[in-house]
């Protein structure tokens, strides 16, 4: 009662003295003079302005440093962008990381390949749709797709290319057409555009262009060649034989003629000699013997010559016949031989004729000489007779009679001689008279004979010339033919070349066409096969996928069931663990050893964090204040003890606060503390207003609460202290708060652990 009254009086005195009300003072920096309450509004305003300016300046500076912060502020605060623009300049744009694009582009190339493979027909469109959306990052895929696109292009284009029809100019395949162009005899129907030969050796009928099959042609040609070869061989043999025989015969004939010639000449010579020389009887007889021999020889030789001539002519005729037959055979290779044979024939004939001419001329000469010799002989015989008639005794060789002759004989001889001379003169006169006639007759005869001979010679010469001309012509013909043949060969060769070129072109075109066709067919077949194959594989895949999906679903179901069981068990274990760790934490909280008032809760919290990955628990574990983790919290007992110590101190500085904080106040408050007595512990009422709270009451209430173990209420009450007392108990308050916080978290955790533990035991 006394205490109460004293306390009331003191309170009244204090009230009177101090006149305090509820103060909420923001700042601690007050001017030195005390009791300056009037400027608090201004101070507040000033303080607010200062803080605002500081805040804005700080914000601007920080925004300058951190652009993200700037954008955040600009977003949230309406006109901040203007301010920032004024202060800092326009904001730099953030670099948008195009990671998404990269991810989008980096499609697996396998996907591209699959798409390329999937449908060739649609490949083009697919590629066209996708190519613009890609970048060069997928070059391998693009290469593949390009290749496939090209392939698809080609394949699609193959069906569109119109097949160029080959020129329809071949009725039958001509494989070995070079053989067609062999120069066969003109039975083969070659084109008529070849220049016809002027010699017109090819008198082949102008057949229409009719191609024979190659085998027939070759057979024909072979046949022809064979036949030609045979005739050639045969004819050439014949020619040679006849040539040889005729040559020999001719030579023989010529030799015989020569011999005859020689014999005749010899005979003539001998005759001349015999006539002209005055020889003796023996010599004459020898002469006449020689002459007879010569005559015999001549006759023999002439016979031989005649026979040889006949033979030669026969052989020449046969040769001519052979030549004619060879000419008729029309084999080109015989021509030169024929020509040569003809020429030989001609030359032989010419020689023979010449020899015959010579012989004939010599014969005629010989005839003249013989006639002359006969005349001479006649004359001589006549003279001999006359002489014998005149001088019959002189029968012997009168040449040796010049010594033995008498004068009469001589006179008789001279008279004879004179008579002979007269006779001869008369004869001569007669002859002279008849000379003309005789001469004319002789001339006529001679003329006739000359004419005959001339005609004969002319005819012979003409024949020979004709023959030569003909031979010449033949030769020229042959040459011309050869030239023409060569020309025709070249032309034919050219035609052959043209033909081959044409054929080659046509064949090429045909080949291409056929190739295109075949490729088309092949591609169509291939596509068919591929589509079928794809269908089948797709079906297979689908079936398989279905089965797999079913199996997988079942497996998944089983796995899930197992997992859920496992999870449930895991949960239970975790809950257990959590509960254990929370219990550990709680124990740590409660216990405190002698050497350290606090124990760091870090290990326990770590244990909690490790033991369960539950979000709530982790969050709660994270919610533990740092101080408690590192340093630990004070237990209630220590706090209580400390409070008791602090209580007296708080009592002592009860009167001191920001406005009353001179040393005098300190003294006064000490005095008050010394004089004032209050209940050590007082139960706080249910409702407390701030008016009836003074430090002493607060302290007693707090004490009581602490004694009751209600740290929270104690802290709340202690929080009501103001001024220096508050500052004194500040750290205790902080510790109390920390402890309360930790306790709260721990209680939450334990509640949660209990709940989880309860939850897991039940069916989910």
């Amino acid at each position: 009662m006394l205490r109460l009254s004293v306390r009331a009086a003191d309170a009244a005195a204090r009230r009177q003295l101090c006149q305090r009300g509820p103060r909420i003072i923001l700042q601690h920096s007050r001017p030195y003079t005390e009791g300056n309450t009037g400027g608090s509004a201004a101070k507040i305003v000033a303080a607010g302005l200062v803080s605002l300016g500081g805040g804005i300046g700080g914000t601007v500076l920080y925004a300058k440093w951190d652009s993200k912060f700037r954008t955040t502020v600009e977003k949230n605060v309406p006109y901040s962008d203007l301010l920032f623009g004024l202060a800092l300049g326009p904001a730099t744009s953030l670099d948008s990381t195009p990671t998404n694009k990269q991810l989008e582009l980096a499609q697996p190339p396998s996907l591209m390949l699959e798409e390329a493979k999937s449908s060739k027909i649609k490949a083009k469109k697919v590629k066209k749709a996708e190519v613009p959306s890609e970048t060069a990052a997928t070059t391998p895929a693009s290469n593949i797709e390009e290749a496939s696109a090209e392939a698809s292009h080609i394949i699609s284009a193959m069906g569109e290319v119109p097949s160029v029809p080959a020129p329809q100019d071949t009725q039958a395949p001509k494989e070995q057409c070079e053989e067609c162009h062999q120069l066969s005899p003109p039975e083969t129907a070659l084109s008529s555009e070849e220049p016809s030969e002027p010699g017109d050796v090819l008198t082949a009928p102008e057949e229409p262009l009719k191609e024979r099959p190659a085998e027939e042609v070759t057979a024909r040609i072979a046949q022809q060649d064979q036949a030609d070869q045979d005739t050639l061989a045969f004819v050439s043999d014949k020619l040679e034989d006849s040539l040889a025989s005729s040559a020999t015969a001719t030579l023989q004939a010529i030799a015989a003629q020569e011999a005859a010639l020689q014999a005749i000449l010899q005979h003539t010579q001998k005759l001349k000699e015999a006539m002209e020389t005055e020889v003796s009887a023996e010599q004459r007889s020898s002469h006449w013997k020689d002459l007879e021999d010569a005559v015999g020889a001549r006759s023999r030789n002439v016979e031989e010559a005649g026979a040889a001539l006949v033979q030669a002519r026969a052989s020449l005729d046969s040769l001519r016949a052979v030549v004619e037959s060879a000419k008729d055979s029309r084999v080109a290779a015989l021509r030169p031989m024929v020509l040569a044979a003809e020429e030989n024939l001609h030359s032989m004939t010419v020689d023979l004729d010449r020899a015959v001419d010579k012989v004939q001329s010599v014969e005629s000469e010989a005839k003249i000489v013989s006639q002359y010799s006969e005349l001479v002989n006649e004359a001589k015989q006549q003279f001999q007779r006359e002489l014998s008639s005149i001088t019959p005794e002189i029968q012997a060789n009168w040449k040796g009679l010049s010594g033995t002759l008498s004068v009469d004989d001589l006179n008789a001889l001279i008279a004879h001689a004179h008579r002979r001379i007269d006779q001869l003169n008369r004869e001569m006169a007669e002859q002279r008279v008849r000379e003309q006639v005789h001469i004319e007759a002789a001339l006529e005869q001679q003329k006739l004979e000359d004419q005959k001979a001339l005609e004969k010679a002319v005819s012979l010469a003409v024949e020979h010339n004709l023959e030569r001309a003909r031979l010449e012509q033949e030769r020229k013909q042959v040459e011309l033919r050869e030239v023409m043949e060569a020309e025709m060969r070249t032309q034919l060769r050219r035609q052959a070349a043209a033909h081959t070129d044409h054929l080659r072109d046509v064949l090429k075109v045909q080949e291409q066409e056929l190739q295109a066709e075949a490729e088309e067919v092949l591609s169509s077949k291939m596509m068919e096969q591929e589509t079928r194959y794809r269908q089948l594989t797709q079906e297979q895949l689908d079936n398989f996928t279905l089965d797999m999906n079913a199996a997988y679903a079942r497996l998944k179901g089983m796995e899930e069931a197992i997992d859920s069981h496992v999870i449930a068990e895991e949960e239970a274990r975790k809950a257990h663990q959590l509960w254990l760790s929370v219990e550990a934490l709680g124990y740590t909280l409660r216990s405190s050893t002698l050497d350290s008032l606090t124990r760091p809760l870090e290990p326990a919290a770590q244990a909690i964090r490790e033991s369960c990955q539950d979000e709530f628990a982790v969050a709660l574990a994270a919610a533990l204040p740092e101080e408690s983790l590192q340093r630990g919290v004070y237990s209630e007992e220590s706090l209580r003890a400390r409070f008791n110590a602090l209580r007296s101190l708080a009592r002592r500085v009860a009167l001191v606060d920001e406005s009353h904080n001179s040393l005098y106040q300190y003294f006064l408050s000490y005095l008050q503390a010394a004089l004032l007595f209050e209940e050590r512990q007082e139960a706080p009422p249910a409702k407390i207003s701030s008016q009836d709270l003074d430090p002493f009451k607060i302290l007693s209430y707090a004490s009581y609460s602490l004694e009751q173990g209600d740290l929270e209420l104690a802290a709340k009450l202690v929080n009501q202290l103001r001024g220096e007392a508050r500052r004194v108990v500040q750290d205790w308050l902080v510790e109390a708060r920390l402890t309360l916080e930790t306790k709260q978290v721990v209680s939450l955790l334990s509640a949660y652990a209990n709940a989880v533990g309860l939850g897991t035991t039940q069916a989910p």
Partner: protein
Amino acid sequence: MADASGLKWDRCLADTAVKTVTGLGVGMAFSFLVFKRRTWPASLGAGLGFGMAYSNCQHDRRLPHLLHGHMVKDQQ
């Protein structure tokens, strides 16, 4: 934190003692040297010293967040 108050008191006392005595001493010196051994400079000095100390103490109490710095020798 509660001990800070005690520390402050200690500082105050120490400061008071030092200042008062120093003031007294200075005053005495002054009174001895200049003011012909009058007592008033001594008391003045003492009073000045005590006043300064008092003021310091009060100031310290009022602005408890001002740190008391100590010169630390550069140790390198």
